[in-house]
């Protein structure tokens, strides 16, 4: 039964029921006449209704104005003559004006913008990034046991810097390929540049071993750490963190066993680590090649590296520079303590373990700020809210890092290894957690140039402030570590201040959120 027939039946029964209650004057009213009069209109004989129904079925009912309907009618073969002869309007323009009015009556309500799907899997993956960034450390205790301290420190810093910058550069370029619609080239580029990066690291390791000593352990450490960083970059790019965890687990277990097992044979930790890293690297490269080969790219969209970089050289240079500066800021602060100050080194953990949280909040900030553009606010309201959102997220990053710092310092205290230098280092890393969030936000808004400036200032401040701190605070032994970590804390706080200063004016600019 059709809806109108059903409604007619209901009306009739209501009328019958009403008759029983009605006064004599209304009893004589015919019941049957109600149905066609109220619920069953005569079928339209206007040919325009049929035309409107056809257009609505084919194109929907939302048109900008009558000129758009005119264009559409002409594209369907309606001419001025047709408009006059078949529809009785002066021309197509007049016909379209009436058609639009009728089409609007048929238009569906605009669908609400679909909300973001909950991405618990992605959140969990991001939260585990901090632990993944810690994994290369499994090599260090065994390497320390088997190599001279100075070349080893140099090798670790060199490997960290090279891997960090290389990974940042190739990741950015791969996203440029993706933006150009060429996933195939992105995969091939990632695979080739990861292999090249490990090659460069091998040469660098050999050079350090040859010039500064350290032997095979140093020669192997640099390419191994670089290979891990390349592999993790590729697998994180393709959201395959599970592979990374699975393949690196043996290395982690061996490293922990070495650490807890009274420092046995270094090879017992190094061999599983090297095997795990090699396997992870192989899987990551294959993953990139497979992803590239699986994509379908239109012939005209294939682009070479030169085409990708055309017009983007400055941005690429700034990406590389700010990555190098950030890596230098963090690694150079930790380097002096790699071999003999376990307490200060461990105090750097809050930043590393909270980095996954920082990445997650940075992504959510980007999503939420873009979502806010679809809400009812004007630019002022948007600016106010986006500033609050940034402040809340930076605060959350600080809180999480602070919790990690408290736990770390408590552990050190339990082990009776807590020192002022370690406390200063932990505080600096807490400050850096919020700074990293602000760095991600500023990079997301395209402020690479400003990032380079503030990171360079913070890096310079760290080294420039050491003598000043030493003079200003006449601490006794161990002054070197304490003045250095306090200076580092000062540079981290300065970085937060500078980032806030450069970010605050542009954070509320709607045009930055594309």
């Amino acid at each position: 039964m059709s809806a109108s027939a059903g409604a007619g039946t209901r009306l009739t029964s209501m009328a019958v029921a009403a008759r029983g209650l009605a006064t004599d004057e209304t009893i004589e009213m015919p019941i049957t006449g109600l149905e066609p009069m109220l619920v069953r209109p005569q079928p339209s004989t206007d040919p325009l209704d049929a035309l409107v129904a056809e257009i609505h079925a084919r194109e929907g009912g939302r048109f900008v104005d009558e000129l758009q309907v005119t264009a559409l009618l002409e594209a369907h073969g309606v001419t001025d003559r047709t408009a006059r002869v078949q529809y009785g309007y002066q021309d197509v323009f007049e016909l379209a004006r009436e058609a639009r009015v009728r089409l609007t009556g048929l238009a569906e309500r605009p669908r609400r913008r679909p909300g973001r799907r909950r991405q618990r899997g992605q959140t969990l993956r991001e939260l585990c990034h901090g632990a993944l960034y810690l994994l290369p450390c499994v090599l260090f205790p065994a390497a320390v046991a088997g190599a001279q301290p100075r070349p080893l420190v140099l090798a670790i810093v060199a490997a960290g810097l090279l891997g960090w910058v290389w990974a940042g550069g190739i990741g950015w370029l791969a996203y440029q390929y993706l933006n150009a619609g060429d996933e195939d080239a992105a995969g091939r580029f990632l695979a080739a540049s990861a292999v090249a990066g490990v090659g460069v690291a091998a040469v660098l390791g050999a050079a350090i071993a040859a010039t500064r000593g350290g032997g095979a352990a140093v020669g192997l450490l640099v390419p191994a750490v670089a290979a891990y960083q390349m592999a993790s970059t590729l697998l994180l790019f393709y959201r395959d963190e599970a592979w990374l965890v699975a393949l690196m687990s043996p290395a982690a277990l061996a490293g922990i066993a070495f650490l807890l097992g009274d420092h046995g044979v270094p090879a017992a930790a190094i061999v599983p680590a090297v095997v795990s890293i090699a396997a992870t690297f192989g899987v990551a490269v294959r993953r990139a090649l497979v992803a590239g080969a699986a994509s379908v790219v239109e012939a005209g969209r294939r682009r070479g590296l030169r085409a990708v970089l055309r017009g983007n050289w400055l941005t690429f240079s700034l990406v590389i520079t700010h990555t190098a500066l950030l890596a230098a800021l963090i690694l150079l602060a930790q380097a002096p303590y790699l071999t003999d100050r376990f307490d200060v080194l461990v105090a750097a953990l809050p930043l590393v373990v909270s980095m996954g949280f920082v990445e997650w909040r940075a992504r959510r900030f980007g999503e939420r700020s873009r979502d806010m553009l679809h809400e009812r606010w004007g630019p002022r309201g948007f600016r106010r809210r986006v500033l609050l959102l940034a402040a809340a997220n930076a605060g959350a990053c600080w809180l999480v890092a602070a919790a990690a710092a408290v736990a770390t310092l408590a552990a050190l205290r339990l082990a009776d290894r807590l020192t002022p230098a370690a406390t200063a280092m932990a505080a600096a890393n807490v400050a850096l957690a919020g700074a990293c969030f602000l760095i991600f936000v500023l990079a997301g808004l395209g402020g690479y140039g400003r990032l380079c400036v503030v990171l360079a200032l913070a890096l310079g401040a760290h080294f420039a402030a050491r003598p000043l701190v030493a003079i200003a605070v006449a601490w006794s032994s161990p002054a070197a570590a304490l003045t250095d970590t306090v200076a580092f804390l000062g540079s981290a706080v300065l970085l937060v201040g500078l980032l806030t200063a450069v970010l605050a004016p542009s954070l509320g600019h709607v045009r930055k959120y594309r």
């Binding site: 264009a71 594209a75 553009l373 679809h374």
Partner: protein, 541 residues
């Protein structure tokens, strides 16, 4: 850009530009092209009378790099942008008088934005600033409140404009306004090959140097922008603003142009509707050189239908393929050759999929770009064109010159070209197209009769020489007042013409028109001997 033509793209408009530049060697030219990002390579060899090619990239990254001025220039921007926003958010006026006022205001707004850019302002950044976005939201709401949100003209519009929509619209409009920030061309005539964004180049030359502006329209620019957005993926509010902008630019250009040359009488309707002055309009048909398109002596062995043109949704090849499926049922062994480069690869793939789906693989072939279009026309018994929007398509005139009978859809100036020398049916009507094709394929006598008529029609009405004469006469008329005042921009005695959107150039007028002759022509509404094909009243000879 999709609108980019000569010398960076192939297609009918580019063919016409090249014909014009080569066919008028006594003029010197500059080619000005709006491009996507400036990386495009010329697809045409530049003749010796083209002095330079200027590319104005609309969509490249980055802005003008100018600083945001404070003080008066910012006030100039606010006033101009406010007027522009009023025009963008207000629906088309029904009253011709009020519509004219709306166009004038839009033109003034464009001029204000040009002056802001000329004074060192960064137009793109200003339009995307928070203040400008807030003004857009405010104006959207105010127009809705003033008209009433239930006003029929506002049907379907959301009551509020979100920041996301405002930012998207402002970004697009900011890119499209880039020609206003380019130093104006110096020439004696600016000749735009179509309406739309390219006319911004002509407007700046007119404001800066009082250069006459001539606009040729092959199709109807505005209509094609509207059609693009029927299935477009822009949010509705953004489409409203964007098409309001396109409508405003088109109307402003009609308002400002010294002469308008529609390439078919049918398209005049849209132009008149959007403010073109009939006293400044002359219908100019495209022409071909008949010697380059000789009449076919023989017919193919198999019944063959040929399409020659771009592979593009506007050509509606789906309908042609569906019609061919019907033809195959009635004329077994029939063939369909689709010749032309794809401007839309996804659309090409959809055509291939349809051919396969309808079981036409082998019988219907997409052959891509062909080296010899004459051979392509000659290879068919019938040439088909099933577009949903056209100007005055070359492929029709060329095929007719080649002695081939056309089956076309009734869009733009197609019926004026074909006349009684072929079949003109409704667009998107596969049955009608199939009927016409079958009739022709089954009746060789009718084919021969219509083919002869077609060739003769081209010789009588649509030759290149006639077209060039028309334009030569129009240029002379346009520069005559300037010669009487002072050379416009260029050195004295070296008059120049600019054909833009595509072409700009320097014209050395061989036979300056005498003041008496100029007066006579002025009195006659510019209906000089070279313009006999069209009159100010729009009637055709």
């Amino acid at each position: 850009m999709s609108e980019g033509t000569y010398p960076f793209a192939l297609g009918g408009v580019s063919v016409w530009c090249d014909q014009l530049v080569r066919g008028l060697p006594e003029y010197r030219w500059e080619a000005v092209a709006l491009t996507v990002d400036g990386r495009e390579r010329p697809r045409w060899d530049m003749p010796a009378n083209v002095d330079r090619v200027v590319s104005i990239p609309l969509w490249s990254a980055g802005g003008s790099g100018r600083r945001r001025p404070r003080g008066r220039p910012a006030a100039v921007f606010r006033a101009a942008y406010d007027a522009l926003l009023t025009a963008l958010t207000t629906p088309p006026e029904e009253s011709p008088h009020r519509a004219a006022v709306q166009r004038s205001r839009f033109l003034l707004a464009l001029r204000g934005l040009y002056e802001f850019a000329a004074g060192g302002g960064d137009l793109g950044a200003a339009i995307r600033s928070n203040a400008a976005l807030g003004a857009m939201q405010d104006r959207w709401r105010e127009v809705g409140a003033a008209l009433g949100f239930d006003h029929p003209a506002l049907a379907g519009r959301p009551h509020r404009l979100t920041l996301a929509d405002a930012a998207q619209a402002a970004t697009l409009i900011g890119h499209m306004l880039r020609p206003l920030a380019v130093p104006p061309v110096r020439a004696d005539v600016v000749h735009c090959a179509m309406n739309g964004l390219s006319t911004l180049v002509g407007m700046t030359a007119k404001w800066a140097h009082d250069t006459p502006l001539l606009i040729s329209e092959h199709g109807v620019y505005l209509r094609e922008r509207y059609l693009e957005q029927v299935k477009g993926d822009l949010p509705h509010a953004v489409a409203v603003l964007l098409l309001g902008f396109q409508r405003g630019v088109a109307g402003a250009a009609y308002h400002l142009a010294d002469a308008l040359a529609p390439h078919s009488a049918y398209n005049r309707r849209w132009q008149l509707r959007n403010g073109a002055d009939p006293g400044r309009m002359w219908t100019m048909y495209n022409g071909v050189a008949p010697e380059l398109f000789p009449s076919a002596k023989t017919e193919p062995d198999e019944p063959t239908i040929v399409y020659v043109g771009r592979i593009d949704p506007l050509k509606d090849l789906h309908t042609l393929i569906r019609a061919f499926a019907l033809v195959r049922e009635r004329v077994p062994g029939a063939r369909l050759r689709i010749c032309g480069a794809a401007s839309d690869l996804r659309y090409r793939d959809s055509c291939l999929a349809l051919i396969e789906q309808l079981g036409l693989t082998g019988a219907a072939r997409m052959e891509g770009s062909v080296p010899d279009v004459v051979e392509a026309y000659h290879s068919g018994n019938v040439v088909a064109l099933t577009s949903i929007s056209e100007g005055f398509p070359y492929s029709v005139v060329e095929a007719m010159a080649c002695g081939r009978t056309m089956v076309c859809t009734n869009v733009g100036g197609v019926s004026e070209a074909v006349g009684d020398a072929g079949f003109v049916v409704a667009p998107r009507d596969a049955d009608a197209i199939a009927d016409a094709c079958v009739t022709l394929l089954r009746d060789p006598e009718l084919r021969r009769e219509l083919a002869a008529k077609a060739r003769q029609r081209v010789l009588d009405r649509f030759t290149l020489a006639q077209s060039l004469d028309d334009y030569r006469g129009l240029y002379e008329q346009l520069v005559t007042p300037a010669l009487q005042r002072a050379p416009a921009g260029g050195a004295a005695g070296v008059p120049r013409a600019v054909v833009g959107r595509a072409a700009a150039g320097r014209a050395l007028i061989p036979h300056p028109v005498s003041p008496a002759e100029a007066n006579r022509r002025d009195a006659g509404g510019l209906a000089g001997p070279g313009l006999a094909r069209g009159t100010s009243a729009g009637a055709r000879r």
